[in-house]
Symmetry: C3
Subunit: 274 residues, 3 copies
């Protein structure tokens, strides 16, 4: 049994111009008044499931065990797609069954991305260490809208878990789940075939190339330019590649925006050559 | 007597590039250290009182009774306009007397919007169920700037209420208040004459047309296009109208931005024809 | 000995599209579960140290004594620049040694800006009332990345201070510190030679000209226009100058954006003539 930390995190594509996130906090605090709610981000690109999954994967481990992570990036809201609650390593995850919660799924049971292919979710059989249920409404939400399950399903479910409720109270075992490929650029010949999966506020292009996969003295090809790998932003005199704080290779332009300089964004290809 | 929830919400047009909201939290926590402060949004369009009122109206009911809602969208700051504190249905509201707090005023005592007209506040006599006072400084704020009453008036007043203070401690009964028309598109012949009152982060155009007012098999005219009404985003193949999570009709483009596709924004007309 | 307020504030240039601030909150709450974390802003312009210092200076006094303020605007991350923890007037400050924490340094020991010159940090000898240490990692962070010291150094250090730890536990006395000039427009002849140091969400141009330095019946020159000084936004019929809520002169356009109208931004010159 995992003690609860009393913390709920939120990661969505709702933006900040609306009260959607605030309303979810109202629902959470109405049900569990002593919770603390932490925004991971509400600025995932609209409906960019793979970007949301990448950001969640880099963030959840910094919270104490017993934390509940709600993630909502959900192009399929109102369709037949299921709503999941998962538990692994003492953390809880709540969100749609579309690959967004892949961070909770052990890497070895997730698909592998093929060279040149984007991140697409596929059904996998969950690992026995992962407890997964399909959330089914059981009277604890008075009304379920067709468009805002963050408020009507995910927040109430998370409040129950955060208050000590068990996953099994929320619904039956989920069986197969949709999972995204593990974030790891594949080899194509002797090159690492990377993709930009996120662009941060500085305009750094964050790729799926793991620092630990980099060969010694590698160069990086991005936007038609050959870049070298530096250890800190301070070492770079112009566009450069660097292993960032979450362990992935980024293309950065100190004092400027690499995204603007290269005209590149999410989905752009970045290659590592030995 | 209403128990306090210990929660204060904030809704402003201050944006997030500044420390204005953070400073208000400092004032709140200095006076009432155990409060929890929840941001509804700080991205109301600058000085768009009717948009702020619409967003507050859709959000406050999701918080527990005893919550204090501070709203500041205030083109008249520093002029003679009054500062209000209201209480209704166990919730408290603090902000300028310009229609922004209309959510606290029962609909039947608010004006009715005329076809083709925008949302303009008018003086109304408050309902006896609504307690309303005009906040007058009484030494509990050391200094009142001419430009930042959120910090100098509304936050201190809200902190007192949230800590259990009574409305009557803040000032005398308010008498007449400014109220916006109820958000409800009027009939023009057999058509509903709607206005876009908000655009969300997905580019959905949110109108003042209530789902409950829609005739069966209605069509929607927006930006020169005739749209049908669908039940979920997943059912729409292109631009479509849908009753959103707050019960109002929205024009949406799944996977895109209806606002960009139609070149429309706040104030645009959207009509429902039977 | 200062009691701790249990509050930690954050001011960064990380933006909101990322989980960087959320991850710092995870680290803080993992180490000190009862903390309350308040965002001052994460929208300082990328690497604009002087803007961050100005915003921090206007905000920290509104929090109760015993609050820990983390500030991270850090072009030099990963270089040899030191990490500071300071204490003054019962408040604690944690961040890079690049002038960002100048708010904690008494004004009389900070440099003076010369007419026409920008804000550039210089080394100063700290005042005896200011306790300052250079943070050195001592095993309380499992891993220090070269790029995200907010997570790996500043958040853990702040959590220790907020939980009652002493500055001296974090490292040795800092000696000389980098400090920005006090924010105060200098005289050039009989004119005050001001700079825009911040633009807020309304497009107000906030200068380093102190309201208390204004001569009677002054006019203000900005973007080639001569403006008069008004007392409230409501008094202005067009572009005007006003002493804002933090005591500095702002150029404002009620109902519009002065920044857009004048094509001016941070670094623009604004002059006061008697």
């Amino acid at each position: 049994v995992t003690e609860r930390s009393g913390i709920v995190t939120l990661l969505t594509d709702f933006g900040l111009a609306d009260t959607y996130a605030g309303v979810m906090k109202g629902v959470l605090l109405s049900q569990a008044p002593s919770l603390r709610v932490v925004d991971l981000t509400h600025s995932v690109s609209p409906q960019a499931v793979e970007q949301g999954a990448f950001l969640l994967e880099g963030a959840w481990r910094y919270f104490p065990p017993g934390t509940v992570h709600i993630a909502v990036v959900d192009p399929g809201v109102g369709s037949g797609r299921r709503r999941l609650a998962l538990s692994t390593l003492g953390h809880f995850f709540v969100g749609p069954d579309n690959g967004l919660l892949s961070a909770a799924i052990p890497e070895w049971s997730r698909p592998v991305r093929q060279p040149g292919a984007p991140y697409v979710a596929r059904a996998v059989t969950p690992d026995p260490d992962l407890t997964a249920v399909s959330i089914e409404s059981r009277g604890w939400s008075p009304f379920i809208s067709a468009t805002f399950e963050g408020r009507d399903v995910f927040a109430p479910a998370a409040a129950r878990l955060a208050a000590g409720g068990r996953l099994e109270e929320l619904g039956p075992a989920a069986g197969e789940l949709l999972a995204l490929p593990a974030f790891r650029a594949p080899l194509l010949g002797d090159e690492l075939d990377g993709l930009v999966v996120h662009v941060d506020a500085f305009g750094n292009l964050i790729t799926d190339i793991r620092g630990s996969d980099l060969p010694p003295r590698a160069s990086v090809l991005a936007g038609g330019q050959r870049l070298s790998v530096v250890r800190t932003y301070a070492e770079a005199s112009g566009l450069a590649a660097i292993v960032g704080s979450s362990g992935f290779l980024e293309v950065a332009l100190p004092g400027g925006s690499a995204a603007a300089a290269l005209g590149a964004g999410r989905g752009a290809r970045v290659t590592v050559v030995p």
